[in-house]
Symmetry: C2
Subunit: 484 residues, 2 copies
Amino acid sequence: MKDWNDSTGRSSLELPPEEMRRLGYRVVDLIVDRWTNLREEPAWQGGTRRELEPLLSGPPPEEGQDPDAVLQRVVDDVLPRAGRIDHPRFFAFIPSSPTWPSVLGDMLATGFNIFQGTGLESAGPSQVELVVIDWFRDWLGFPKEGGGILTSGGSAANLVALVTGREWAGNPPNPVLYVSDQGHSSLERAARIIGLPAGNVRKIPTDETFRIDVALLQENVAKDRAAGMDPLWVCSNAGATNTVAIDPLADIATLAEKESLWFHVDGAYGGFAVLAPGQKEAFLGIERADSVTLDPHKWLFQPYETGCLLVRDTQLLEAAFRIFPEYLQDTALGKEHVNFADRGVQLTRGFRALKVWMSLQMLGLKAFREGIQAGIDHAREAEKYIQRSPVLEMMGPGSLGIVCFRFRHPDEDGSPELLEALNLRIQEEIVGSGLAMMSSTRLRGEFSLRLSILNYRSTWQDVRQTLEAVEAIGQRLSEVRGGS
Amino acid sequence: MKDWNDSTGRSSLELPPEEMRRLGYRVVDLIVDRWTNLREEPAWQGGTRRELEPLLSGPPPEEGQDPDAVLQRVVDDVLPRAGRIDHPRFFAFIPSSPTWPSVLGDMLATGFNIFQGTGLESAGPSQVELVVIDWFRDWLGFPKEGGGILTSGGSAANLVALVTGREWAGNPPNPVLYVSDQGHSSLERAARIIGLPAGNVRKIPTDETFRIDVALLQENVAKDRAAGMDPLWVCSNAGATNTVAIDPLADIATLAEKESLWFHVDGAYGGFAVLAPGQKEAFLGIERADSVTLDPHKWLFQPYETGCLLVRDTQLLEAAFRIFPEYLQDTALGKEHVNFADRGVQLTRGFRALKVWMSLQMLGLKAFREGIQAGIDHAREAEKYIQRSPVLEMMGPGSLGIVCFRFRHPDEDGSPELLEALNLRIQEEIVGSGLAMMSSTRLRGEFSLRLSILNYRSTWQDVRQTLEAVEAIGQRLSEVRGGS
């Protein structure tokens, strides 16, 4: 048999320890330097396949390349060509800004190669996941029987919720899903994945504040029941993606109890706002949900991918997902262990809980409360600014960290089409300049700019600078148009 | 408005750069020290909830704690209480042993906070994922129209494959899934998730080498078709979890083409063995599959979570998963971009491709071929050892990196129950001593010890030491029994 190791006993896949350490330090330096210079970098950089293919394509080399040269290619050609989602003026979509202790937690979980699928293979890590889930459960006011699992994100959590609800209901033949017309697209996708025909999904209209109309929900349920369908899940928002609307959760809970529906709350965006002083009231009723989606990688300042599904009754989650093959016979250790693989889609799982645990321990809960509150404060201040501005208008009620608005010159009446073209142009100029990243949406059919302010690094100065840029560019474009 | 930042402009969630750097270096040191001492550590350490709860439970502190003390708790109380899946004598389940460049890749992806869901937000990272998927596609001999997505692992990949196949077939009312009786449990779970009744899943018996019996498969399809069912997917193994059996892929491909079935190959364990010299032949027919699951976190030496689904026709994958909500209107950029969120379950995705790209660039493909070949060589050498040993017997045909065997004293006839009790006891002693981690399974109903040899650090010495320990402990236990 050929001896695959060299004279030092190392495989060709191994590096000498001092080289590992040197490259590790260099990677730490690259990350710290990036974080330190983040505000001066553009908030977004793109690239096309035509530009990038020549830089990055081609087969892998047969022989290893100089590691520093490879690192340099990554730093020059790959990593900058992206949104800087944690940039203090990245306000598009839903920002994410991990804390340093959470990054350290991910490094340790990877470097220690933790497999967090079964209790046998990860007793310590499983205990940490249980503890972190207990924290979330307590923050939401869930009962002690509640539990859950950390997932890749909100999409997986919503999928797991629908499957758990269906198993709980005994797999009825004609299940109907009720979801807010502001519900996240991942629910639609989860419905497709679980095999629900599009005709079994009811989008429930929302009121002028983008909250589910509970009377209409009730009507729909009654009509479906009368038609022999099986009303099964109602999915509501605790912070809708578009507008961060929080549905009337207590009213929905009451209806769900009466109608024996599985009451799911998608709090991926907004759920952790319960930690901010005075916000808990807006979420009243969430503690009566059967399941809640939370995304620690959003407003709990964790790296991707960190989602969570909490359920009121952990047994229902395990009943829905447990599978027990022969080659895992050694992993059944009874109640002394939790196999997190029994609670969701994945068997192999990384150790997602460590980053959450480490960042809460190192920074303390108070810092998180303040970080969330800062985002809410900045959004409300932006709202005031827009209301005072002669050229800006709010496009929906502000809520949590979201501001939907547009530029509109007072001298111009502007058709929706013209306003849309103008605002799109403003958005393009701001994003193109690198100053800030903004996204847009449609509210009741009308085009709206959208700022989402969640980053602990964002200051009021960052927000104001972005609003001022919208005003200035809009004014200039209006004048050009006015003068032509 | 309260100013949330301190006099240095920092939020309470931020650390000074020099403190970030110091802690980052310390984490690198902790990981490098662990890797350097790995062989001297026990291959597995456990713990019960009763032991761990007092160490780790309780609410998070309101104020931040000393970061070095928190790190020390993690290193003392959390990380050691786990299987060391990358230990050179960890042969249980399916081992995983990431290379150092792949760990660096994960650190960079986390530290640069890459969101790899849409091309708009990650042009460079998306290009890297395309390149890595092209490599895999070429290694398997897939056509150029083939493509895919990196997933959390094999479970997600198998789920995505079933959904894609169902959409391709137009969602027939009574779909039937055919899966080897050696198929992975994640297929059974995926079937449950997509809403397939248990009665629509056929487990196809395997022959004495644990390969699908194609004649029986054909019979089942014909019978189902005659009964008005809709035969839809056939899932075969390219390295079954139990035994690493490789199904007769070319014959199944022919049947699938004739019967218009979606031909899925689960190559999570074995797929990358095509890179080892002379192995490609065993996988003949895989290039005709409609979809293939691969797990780079297994035999491509990547950290968790790195799975992959390859499909023959990328358009089918996107047709199955694309959803387009209003708040993503800015992300539609035409053919110049790929939105990986259109190809699977997740919208938010981390940058999984970087670790693969960096480790292939830094180490070269040849090192990976050698690393895989070393595992195969060690397994075949173990087989020879067992065949020569007077007290060990093979329990199935050896294949790739797997060896299924048991202890059996030549002077004892031993009922299956006695042999099972004896071998379980041997396993417990070896695992308890920390020497090695082994798992067990059942083959044709009989208990079998199982070694899985995939780690590039494992030497023949590691394997032999473990086999010798089985012999020695077995002999001692037999003598005690014989003498009683």
